[in-house]
Each structure stands twice: as structure tokens, then as C-alpha cells.
Symmetry: C2
Subunit: 454 residues, 2 copies
């Protein structure tokens, strides 16, 4: 639903809520897709959320809505639900979504819910909760179709109807041996086009991609994307099939990982915390600024060292912002390109020298162009007052240095981190700009002191 339509729907719902027009609300709420309702819910009070939630007749839609809401950390609503209400919804929710929700509940509520669940269900959920969050085990769905290799295509279709009515997207059907070990996969399409009496093992694909339960979720997502598949089976150490990771979860992983990288590069931690309180947001961002603070303190010590030069040529100070600004921006450009390139596989860490030397060239060219421009501007503005063009030359050279060094460091640091298998995104942002600042300041004053004979 377009943003416009959603806004109109939201206004309608709010108006009907104010009027208490319950039968109209009931109609609307049952006609609207849960994903669209979840967007509207974010702008309603918890009280209104509860009223609307219980107007939804389809329990499966309630389950979808609840899962969608928690993605945006609307925990207020969940907290108003008691154990029985939660269990009622969980009955219609896939096990992996139940596990995700339970993981976010307060400890006592979570335990109360698990206690009241029947054994089979609570075991399944607890199994899923035993895996680390950001691993294949933590994101997999335990609902999949597993068939024996000796049954026929016809038998497989019957089994699909009888034994696996709840499996959401059975486009791949996995084939296992007597010990539940993964031996092959068939597609639903293959099942309908082969002769019904053909046993699975005659047409199943045995060369299967699979991942282990402890694999990092980003690796899993990259495999699904790289090989253009719709799901990947998750196995344990003995190659027993434990679950599958489906492509819709892969999309969410990529968006999450992109957000993580973006936030890391800006020095804001890893998780999207905008929806948290002022105090927690501040606490998360505080340490990332510390490197910058140390760098700034180091910078003013360096400038203090050049005190006598400054006394003789106070104009030097005027150009600090432009020299640092140009360097900072080029450094951000270079490091962003390299970090993103490494993350998407466009750049390989084996290409280090190629990439860094290219960035250095670009930095030198940009530095020469802008150095010249700024030197000219400096001469125009201050040339008459001072009797030397050397200030403008110093400024121009400093800009050139600043921009070249920024391009060099901005590309070199993430590349090196990539080589030694440290996440390159962590180094950029504050780290690169701060070190470029310090080096630029030092170069600037050294150049100016020499050229102006201070």
C-alpha cells in the first residue's frame, strides 16, 4: 500500500476510534494486510492498539501483526498482554517467530509462557533459543519438508498434503536418509513434472548448498544471494537437517547488515537505537566520540608547539577549517568507497595496492585542483594585507597534502583491516577523519613555518 493510501487509512482509523465506530473499524481492520496495519499501529496509543488487535478475527493475521510490530521494538503493546493472551497468539505463529518474541520478553514472562506451552512446542522453541542470535541456527525455520529418498514423486505429493500442511513455502523439499541426514533436494516443480512412480533418489539433486547452525547470518545471506536460491538448509555437525533459512529472512539480514555498517562507519555503535531513550542513545554514542576528542587534544598540543609561528602570522589560523574540512571529506569519500566495496564484494582485499594507489592518485589530483582554487581565494582575500604570496602557497600546499593523505589513509586503513579479517567498517568514520586532521594540521604548520620563514 502506498504511503499516501496508508496515511489516509490511518486518518480514517483514528477518526473511527475517536467516534467509537466499532463495527466499521472491525471491517477495515479485517480487510487490511497485517504488514500495513503494523505501520499504522506505530502512531496509535497502546490502548487503541489493543482494541484494534482484538478486532482481528483471523488468528494467523494477529500472529503476523504481532511479529511485525516487534520488528520496530514496539514492546509497550506486548507488555500489556498476559501469558494466556500470548499463548493464544503463539499457537498460530511459526516457531522461529515465537522464539524471537520470547527472547524479547522479560525473563519471568518468558518462563511462564514456556511452562504453559505443551512440551513439544516448548521444546522446539527452546531448541531455537539455544542458538546464538546472529547465526544460521538463530534465524532458521524448523518447518521444512523432509522425505525419504525411496518414496516416489506421487508419494511425496501425498506426504506433502498429509504430513506437512503447515510448511509455509515448500518449493524445495529436502531428502534425508534414515538418520535424518541431508542427502538431496527436489523442487516442487520437479515433483509435478516427472512420472509419478519415479523414486526421489533418481531425480534429486545431491550437490546441495547447506550451512552449519553456527554460521554467521551475514555469511548465510551471502550464500543465498550468491547462488540465487530461495532457501538454504541448515545442518548440524553430523549433517542432520535442523531447519532452513528462507529468502525473505535473507532480505531482512541484508538490510540489517547494511544498517549496521552504515552506523559503524559513522561511529554510532552497531544497532539502530534511535527508538531508545535519550539516556541509552547517549551512552552508546559517547565512547565513539572519545577517539575524536583525544585527537582534538593532540591537535591543540601540536598547534601550541607552533605558537611562535602563529604569533607572527595570525592569518595561519584562518585556514585551519578549510584544510581540515577538505581533507576530512576526501577521507570520508575514500573510506566509504573502500568499506562498501569490500562489504559487497566489489573490491577484494587482495587488490590492496591497486586500490590504494588509485585513491592516492585521485587524492593528488583533487588536492591539486582544490589546493589551487583555495590558494587563489586566499590570495584574493588576504593578498593585499600581507606582502607575500607565500601564505597562499602554504595554504594551497597544505590542502594538497591534506587531501592526498586523506585519500591514502581512507583507503589503506580499511583495506589492511580487511586483509587481517577485522571488520573494516569499524575503522572509518571518526578514526580516519581524526588522524587525517592531526596529520594535516602538523603538515600545514610545518610547511607554513618553512615557507614564511617563521
Amino acid at each position: 500500500m502506498s504511503e499516501q493510501k496508508n496515511k489516509i487509512l490511518e486518518e480514517t482509523i483514528k477518526r473511527l476510534l475517536r467516534r467509537g465506530a466499532h463495527s466499521n473499524l472491525r471491517k477495515i481492520v479485517n480487510k487490511t494486510h497485517a504488514a500495513d496495519l503494523s505501520v499504522i499501529f506505530r502512531n496509535l496509543s497502546v490502548d487503541s492498539q489493543r482494541r484494534l488487535f482484538y478486532m482481528i478475527d483471523d488468528y494467523e493475521q494477529r500472529a503476523v501483526l504481532l511479529s511485525e510490530l516487534t520488528e520496530y521494538t514496539i514492546t509497550d503493546f506486548i507488555e500489556t498482554m498476559d501469558v494466556d493472551e500470548l499463548l493464544e497468539v503463539f499457537d498460530y505463529m511459526p516457531a522461529d517467530d515465537v522464539a524471537d518474541l520470547i527472547a524479547d520478553l522479560p525473563k519471568e514472562t518468558a518462563e511462564a509462557v514456556l511452562d504453559k506451552m505443551n512440551n513439544e512446542e516448548s521444546e522446539e522453541v527452546e531448541d531455537l533459543l539455544s542458538y546464538d542470535d546472529d547465526t544460521a541456527g538463530g534465524i532458521m525455520v524448523p518447518d521444512f519438508v523432509a522425505l525419504s529418498e525411496v518414496i516416489t514423486a506421487k508419494g511425496a505429493i501425498e506426504s506433502l498434503q498429509k504430513d506437512f500442511p503447515d510448511v509455509e513455502m515448500p518449493f524445495y523439499l529436502y531428502v534425508v536418509d534414515d538418520n535424518e541426514r541431508l542427502v538431496g533436494v527436489v523442487s516442487l516443480r520437479q515433483l509435478v513434472v516427472v512420472k509419478p512412480t519415479t523414486p526421489l533418489k533418481e531425480f534429486m539433486t545431491t550437490d546441495i548448498f547447506s550451512v552449519r547452525t553456527d554460521m554467521d547470518q551475514e555469511e548465510v545471506a551471502k550464500i543465498v544471494a550468491h547462488y540465487d536460491i530461495l532457501a538454504v538448509p541448515v545442518v548440524d555437525d553430523s549433517n542432520r537437517l535442523m531447519g532452513i533459512v528462507t529468502v525473505d529472512d535473507v532480505i531482512d539480514i541484508f538490510r540489517q547488515e547494511a544498517t549496521e555498517d552504515i552506523l559503524k562507519m559513522a561511529g554510532v555503535g552497531e544497532e539502530f537505537v534511535e527508538t531508545q531513550s535519550v539516556v541509552s542513545s547517549t551512552r552508546i554514542r559517547l565512547p565513539w566520540l572519545f577517539a575524536s576528542c583525544l585527537g582534538g587534544i593532540l591537535a591543540f598540543s601540536i598547534i601550541g608547539h607552533f605558537e611562535s609561528s602563529l604569533k607572527q602570522a595570525t592569518y595561519l589560523a584562518a585556514f585551519l577549517p578549510v584544510i581540515m574540512g577538505m581533507g576530512g571529506n576526501v577521507g570520508t569519500q575514500s573510506s566509504t568507497i573502500v568499506v562498501r566495496g569490500l562489504a559487497t564484494g566489489r573490491l577484494l582485499s587482495s587488490e590492496l595496492w591497486h586500490v590504494v594507489s588509485k585513491e592516492l592518485c585521485i587524492g593528488l589530483i583533487l588536492g591539486t585542483i582544490y589546493g589551487g582554487l583555495i590558494a587563489l581565494a586566499a590570495e584574493i582575500r588576504f593578498g593585499a594585507e600581507l606582502n607575500t604570496g607565500m601564505l597562499a602557497v602554504s595554504v594551497g600546499l597544505a590542502v594538497l597534502c591534506s587531501m592526498s593523505i586523506a585519500a591514502l589513509m581512507g583507503s589503506l586503513v580499511p583495506m589492511i583491516l580487511g586483509r587481517i579479517h577485522v571488520d573494516p567498517a569499524v575503522a572509518t568514520g571518526p578514526f580516519v577523519t581524526t588522524s587525517v586532521d592531526i596529520i594535516s594540521v602538523y603538515c600545514y604548520f610545518t610547511i607554513a613555518t618553512h615557507l614564511l620563514g617563521l
Copy 2:
């Protein structure tokens, strides 16, 4: 295949190439998935690429490999292929991939290829090429299953085998009326579990999500992700079914759009140009630095205006880097959070005041903490030399100002742009940091001039 295994495979291939061990190479190349080969190819010479390419027996694998290679803009290899060689591969390639490749060929080659193609195929490709690149029409696949609503489930399955052998992922089968207009959809799963004599219109879903050919690709991707579907049908103005956009393309779109935003926020243009020449990369990045340059020139004019203050208190200059650095980093933090939040739907532009006031609070708290810290450091370093604590106070206040204004602007500007439907990502990066620099410098000198009685 893990990065390690891929590296080993690459070394093996290089070694065998040097030795001219063709039959071993042939074996390896035919056993390796095209997606993995494409990664290895990037580190081989064009000559080796050609040799290996023509060792692949499976023409469909060659087609997949060629598509994968062009994703990383390895145009050198494609340029060595003549028209007949291209046609040979295109025969085994889906029409949308052919269209993408042809769009990247030099004009004469593209026309020669289209001329030599048989009419039906070239018409299909030319149709696809008529749509804008980043729209539903530009990314859709014209291969889909379209059935009449009156045929039975059994008839549908037979039709699938007979009429649609090439459709890649027929998990959704679309139902059309006599005028090719989209009226419903059935899933392959439904086909196998209902009674074979049931006509499609009795169990098809009529409430379908569909998109128009001119819809922006990012909107299309968001719809597929929002509703957790595997494909979305693309229709024209008369609701006639023209193609489908599948979930694997949606994954690529999200990654592309994330990269675009990341590059925009750093002021590097929109497309990933790292693989282009030094000259083109420089040309793309040059203009984005201009705002920064203008800002820097404005900054040195401002400081020039405060020349007399500087002459009297040369120490003032020493603190410019730290004040600008802290402001710049907080500004980047805030703008990154807001831009990414808006892009992923975590933040809504309707929440402007809530978000901006929160960011301002955070900026004030961080500014107070770091302002105090830096003022203390300034007093320690320079306190003995000057006889006034007022310098330290000025510096502290300037840091507080800088960081608060940075948080305010960093959140306000993207939010406002979001409200007026301009892409918020464009404004961040150089724009926010440059304006924060200018304002911080002005505040600093104004405060210092007053407090130090200059």
C-alpha cells in the same frame, strides 16, 4: 564456497593455466558453480578468461557466468566476443539478462546482435530495453506462467509441463482473462493439493499485489519485502500482465540501494565507480567537494573578521580542530541515524519534532560532557601560560555549542528533506559537516571575544 576454498581453487586454476593442463582445467571448470567462477575470473587475464569460458560444456552455465561477470563491470571480456559468440550465449540466457547485457554493449555491437536475432527474441529484448533502467519494467522477467481461469488444476499442471518449460521459478502461477489481464494467482502448492478437477477460479487468490511498469525499483523491492512474497507481477495501464519481479532481484536491489545511500551520504555520487579509471572517479567526486570548499572559504573569511581577537589571543587558533572535529562527528552520527532510519522505515518523517528534540538533547548532553573534558584539558595544557581560565571556558562552551548545533542540524535537515520528498541522503555528508563547521567557528570566536574581552 568459502573465501578460503575459493582462494585455493583460484591458485589451482592459475597453476594449471601456466602448465597448460587443459584436461584438468576442463574438469575443474565444469564442476565449479558459475557464481564461484565469476569471482575467480576477476583475478585472471582476459586471455585466460576466454580459454576457461569456452571449456565450459554446459551452455546455460556459460550464460550464468557471463551475467555474473557483467555485474562487476568486467567489460573487457565481453568486448572480445564477436556477434556470433554473443548470440550463441544469449540463446541460453533469460530475456531480461540479455537485455541488461545488450544495454551495456557498444552501440554498433548491440544493433548487430539485435539484427541477427530472430524476430521473436529481438522483439522481446527490445520491449524490455524500452523501459527505464531503475523501474519495474527495467528489472522484470518476461517469463512467467499465465493460465486461464477456467482450466482445472490438472490442466494447469499439464500446461506447466508443456507450455512453460523455461520458466525458472514457477511457484506462483498467474491467472489471466482473455485479454491477458491479471485476475488472480495460484501457488504451485495449491495446484498439487486441491482436487485435480477444480477450476482455477475456485481457489485462486484475487486480492493480488501488483506493480506498474513505471514504478521505481526501490518501491517494488519494498513491496516484496513488506508483504513477504516471492515475486510480484508487473502490469501495464490496462492491467495486462507484462512480467514479474522475483525475490532474487529484490535482494540485489536492496544491496544496490543501500550502496547508493551510503555513497550519497559520503558525497561520492550514486554509483559504485571504484572500478572505473582514475579520471572518471575524480570527475565524479570533484563537484561533491565544492560545497565543502565554499564553506571553507566562508570560514576563513569569518576568522579573518575576528583577526584582532586572534592577534590578542593566538591560543584561540589551537582549539579550532577539536571544536570542529567534535561537532563534525556528532553531526555525522545524527544525520546517519536519521537518514538510515528514514530509508528503512524505522523513523517516519511525521516524527520530526520528536526525533529532532531528542537529538538536540543528546547533543547537549554529549556537548556538556566533552566540553567539560576538553576545557579541563585546555586548562591543564595552557592554564599556567595564560592567566585566565576564560580561555578554557570559551573552548568548553564552543564545544557544547558545536555539538548541540551539529546534532540539531544533522537531524533536522534530513527530516525536512524527507517531509518534502527529497532524498535525505543527498543532504548529509559534506553539506551538514560544512555548515556545522561554519556555525561552530562563528560561535567560538564570538564567545571567546566576549569572554576574554577582546
